[in-house]
């Protein structure tokens, strides 16, 4: 058995301590040690974005980060997106726009979209599509997802729907 390292971090606003092996990814620790299974493993090599989380506000794939790297940092996962008062506007718009079918990629998309809106509250369709290019969805063709994010940014859709 490999020796375990103690890590202290803030996850979804709560200070937390855990032990992990140096080889364990953040995704593995989130899911298996901390019980935060909202971050999904779709590929475990950074291609699908289903494990998107924020570290100090920056969007990363949790499968590509070692758990020991979050020492002293702030992590936001899908479990930390909703407020105590209810759903985040992105979550609400995903529901209203039928932006999920199977729902497996949905946490990653919502976390990724939050990172976008945090830095650009009024993105264009092209900017949304560019930003989401690291998140795979196989069910929806992205149409309703892009519309939900534009709606969450309070931007009307349809004007630039086609050339």
């Amino acid at each position: 058995m490999a020796t375990k390292t103690q890590v202290e971090a803030v996850i979804n606003g709560e200070p937390i301590e855990f032990l992990c092996e140096p080889r364990q990814s953040l995704l593995e620790v989130l899911r298996d040690t901390l019980g935060l299974t909202g971050s999904k493993e779709g590929c475990n090599n950074g291609n699908c974005g289903a494990c998107s989380v924020l570290i100090d506000g920056a969007l990363v794939n949790a499968c590509l980060v070692l758990a020991v790297e979050i020492q002293g940092r702030q992590v936001t996962t899908i479990e930390g997106i909703a407020t105590p008062d209810g759903l985040h506007p992105l979550q609400q718009k995903f529901l209203e726009h039928a932006a999920l079918q199977c729902g497996f990629c949905t946490p990653g998309f919502i976390v990724a979209a939050k990172a976008l809106l945090d830095r650009n509250p009024d993105p264009s369709e092209a900017e949304v599509r560019q930003w989401l290019a690291g998140n795979l969805c196989r069910c929806t063709g992205y149409d309703h997802i892009v519309k939900a994010i534009l709606a969450a940014a309070d931007r009307p859709t349809g004007a630039e729907a086609h050339p």
Binding site: E21, R23, R31, G35, L36, T37, G38, S39, K40, E41, G42, C43, N45, N47, C48, A50, T77, I78, E79, I81, L87, Q91, F94, L95, E96, H97, A98, L100, Q101, C102, G103, F104, C105, T106, P107, I110, E125, V128, R129, Q130, L132, A133, N135, L136, C137, R138, C139, T140, G141, Y142, D143, H144, I145, V146, K147, T157, G158, A161, H162, P163
Partner: protein
């Protein structure tokens, strides 16, 4: 934009609306539990050792080092599986040789594809399990692989399955072969039909093996109790299918197995077959009855589950000078993968079905090759077939100087026409869908310009019915608890609840759906075949009718009349001067006989087929061969769209998968049969940047085979896209691409060949 043509019966109150889906909050907050999200006390994690060879004989397996590795609790090989005789079993509607099914779980004497499972390990964690699996020594005699159907059909081809003989509807060939079956559909006399043609077009097409590409890898957890009782938690399209397959492979009684559905992260046909479930059961049993979880890596999913067939298809079509089709001929050769069972039969059902053609002959061949055993993928076989046929239809209409939609309208099938197999159509909506396509703003917009082109294609899918069960109880406050057996892969909890609410004339918020495990609901076939909203929704309708009968009896009891004297409308029971709301009567159940509960099972004997028409504008960069999708419109006859936002979602998702199949996706094998692109960087699925908004037009020609006119909607939208894109590329650059995917390299090569 979604337009709904108001051709169906008016007066629906719930059907056709778009409530928020019942499982939505769990899924946007990350709380929904998918296949890998389960954790149990004492859980062990499994790992699978897979073959590095595409074709080899297993001479010996030494598991001793793995078994001795610290933290390992169990190791299994094919010797731990019951040895099953060769017997064709009907699993649902599919016919499967149970021995092949077992051999696909763990290879017994031969490995037949790169990634074929050979042994499995359970250990205290995944890292230990993987390290131990790597210590298993397998002694292989490597054999030459067969990777192409044409090579597999050659007289001197290496043979995958020594006992295989070509089946021909109850007859079979005499010598060893890789051709598992020859199928034939024929009507009229094609020689006469082609004599009557003024224009004949014949082309050959090839398509690559592709994968469903669901984002969630397979996952299964099993707990075997010391008395032999088995519980399986997994992500599957069909819990009862898992139960049936595990029972068959492990020779267990059905009642010994309970399958608990977790949420499923996409399937598209690829999560009907079991891969991990029997291994989890074996490992749990052998590790002292501890729970064991197995999950696949993405590499495992791509290399060793059930992709769909690559194919070689020739199509010949003839039409008279007026544009009427006179004859059609096709030969379809489909890769089955390691064991028989490609979707060539359903491909034959799709290929010419949109058209009235008096003389048709279709030959199909199911051919084994050293690739993973193919599984269903959304309208199985249909995309390949339509790519071939609709490309030739496009070419024929161009030669005749006819608009491609006008040509299809001239030849399109309608009620009363017969399919090639002789069965006549009930009411169908192809012509209405073509007319709707003609009148879209997209189709009427000006031609898109230089290096740009607009393509059209039509598609057919027969859909399916199948067994479904539902039950419901009325609660004392007038709400309804609905239990059903269909895994919800895209909103079906809600679309089924909507049909119960419609039947009871109550708001959708009144009904809450739970998906039950296999011990808790009547048999329900999987979420496949575009059947769930259709068939399980029908079961919910029957439950609603029964609840109304039960509640009328309670009202009659209260009012001292007979149930026949009680009417129900708009949520109110009435008899003479008496009346009571649904909720009011529900409050009176206590005292009039207790809870009102109803259950129903259905097995429809017919189901309305679906037709789709897709329109696409592309731009081709002649320097790089890159194709951009500029605009896309998908039209489809949904019969009656129960949950329109999610019908549109199916249409968009099918189009997107078809675009990926058309332009990028393919399994790339080296000469030894090793899959070179078992990851999502190299197996290139569409990302958000690759697609525009996908416009949808839902046409509603009610199916006579459903109480609410519903047709399945999930599969047909993947049938037209590859052909539509190919036809658009032709209009853009003047070259017909006959090979999928139409990747940049192939387009550049085709342009160069044209220049020479």
């Amino acid at each position: 934009m979604t337009q709904t043509e108001k051709t169906s019966r008016p007066g629906f109150r719930v059907i056709g609306s778009s409530p928020l889906r019942q499982d939505g909050v769990e899924k946007v907050t990350g709380r929904a539990r998918f296949g890998a999200d389960i954790h149990l006390p004492g859980l062990l994690i499994g790992a699978v050792l897979r073959s590095p060879h595409a074709h080899a004989r297993i001479l010996a397996i030494d598991t001793s080092a793995a078994a001795a590795y610290p933290g390992v609790k169990a190791v299994v090989t094919a010797l731990d599986l019951p040895e099953l005789e060769s017997k064709i079993a009907d699993i649902g509607e599919a016919s499967i040789n149970q021995r092949y099914q077992s051999n696909n779980i763990l290879a017994r004497d031969k490995v037949l594809y790169f990634g074929h499972a050979v042994a499995a390990v359970a250990a205290v964690n995944g890292h230990v399990a993987e390290a131990a699996a790597a210590l298993i020594k397998v002694d292989y005699e490597v054999l030459p692989p067969v990777l192409d159907v044409r090579a597999a059909m050659a007289p001197d081809a290496p043979i995958l399955l020594e006992e295989l003989r070509t089946a021909e509807l109850g007859d079979h060939g005499t010598g060893p072969t890789n051709v598992a079956a020859h199928l034939l559909l024929e009507t009229g006399d094609i020689a006469r039909g082609f004599e009557a043609a003024a224009v004949v077009v014949e082309r050959a097409f090839t398509t690559a093996m592709v994968h469903q590409g669901y984002i969630e890898p397979h996952a299964a957890t099993a707990q075997v109790e010391a008395d032999g009782q088995v519980t399986i938690w997994c992500s599957t399209q069909g819990t009862f299918g898992v139960r049936e397959q595990v029972a068959s492979i492990l020779r267990l009684p059905l009642s010994r197995i309970r399958v608990v559905p977790l949420e499923i992260g996409g399937g598209f046909g690829g999560k009907n077959n079991v891969y991990l479930e029997p291994l989890a059961v074996l490992l749990s049993r052998k590790s002292g009855f501890r729970p064991v979880k197995l999950t696949m890596s993405r590499k495992d999913v791509l290399a060793a589950t059930g992709p769909t067939s690559g194919s070689v298809i020739t199509v010949k079509l003839g039409a008279d000078a007026a544009g009427k089709l006179t004859a059609a001929q096709a030969t379809l050769i489909y890769e089955a993968g390691a064991y028989p069972g490609s979707p060539v039969g359903s491909a034959m059902d799709v290929i010419f079905t949109p058209y009235r053609i008096p003389h048709v002959r279709i030959d199909g061949y199911d051919v084994v090759v050293n690739k993973p055993h193919t599984a269903a993928y959304r309208a199985p076989g249909g995309t390949n077939a339509a790519f071939a046929a609709e490309s030739v239809v496009d070419e024929l209409s161009e030669r005749l100087g006819l608009d491609p939609i006008a040509f299809r309208l001239l030849n399109g099938v309608h009620e009363g026409n017969r399919k090639v197999d002789g069965v006549a159509f009930e009411r169908i909506g192809l012509l209405e869908t073509l007319e709707a396509a003609q009148s879209t703003a997209h189709y009427r917009a000006a031609a898109p310009g230089r290096h740009r082109g607009r393509g059209v294609a039509a598609g057919f899918w027969g859909n399916y019915g199948g067994k479904s069960s539902a039950s419901a109880s009325v609660n004392a406050d007038g709400t309804i608890s609905l239990i059903e057996g269909s895994v919800d892969i895209g909103g079906s909890r809600t679309s089924i609840a909507m049909q119960l609410a419609e039947t009871l004339e109550l708001p959708i918020e009144t009904v809450r759906t739970t998906i039950a495990d296999t011990d808790s609901i009547g048999e329900t076939e999987g979420t496949y075949g575009s059947r769930t909203t259709f068939a399980t929704g029908w079961a919910a309708y029957e439950v609603g009718q029964k609840l109304k009968v039960g509640l009328k009896e309670r009202a009659a009891h209260l009012w001292g009349v007979t149930a026949a004297d009680v009417d129900y409308a708009d949520g109110v029971f009435r008899s003479g001067a008496e009346h009571m709301t649904f909720a009011g009567l529900a409050a009176q159940m206590d005292g009039t006989g207790g809870p009102v509960v109803a259950s129903a099972s259905v097995q429809p004997s017919s189901w309305g087929p679906g037709f789709a028409v897709h329109i696409v504008d592309v731009e081709v960069d002649p320097e790089t061969g890159k194709v951009d999708i500029l605009r896309y419109t998908a039209l489809q006859d949904a019969g009656k769209a129960v949950y329109p936002d999610y019908v549109a979602g199916q249409m968009q998702g099918g189009a997107a998968q078809g675009i990926g199949w058309a332009l990028h996706e393919e399994f790339i094998y080296d000469g030894q049969g090793r899959l070179l692109n078992a990851n999502w960087l190299d197996y290139r699925m569409p990302v958000s940047l690759d697609l525009p908004f996908i416009e949808t037009v839902i046409v509603e020609v009610p199916s006579p085979s459903h109480p609410y006119g519903v047709r399945g909607v999930g599969e047909v939208p993947i049938v037209p896209p590859a052909a539509a894109v190919a036809n658009a590329i032709y209009r853009a650059i003047g070259v017909r691409l006959t090979e999928l995917p139409m990747s940049p390299g192939r387009i550049v090569a085709a342009l160069r060949a044209q220049d020479r």
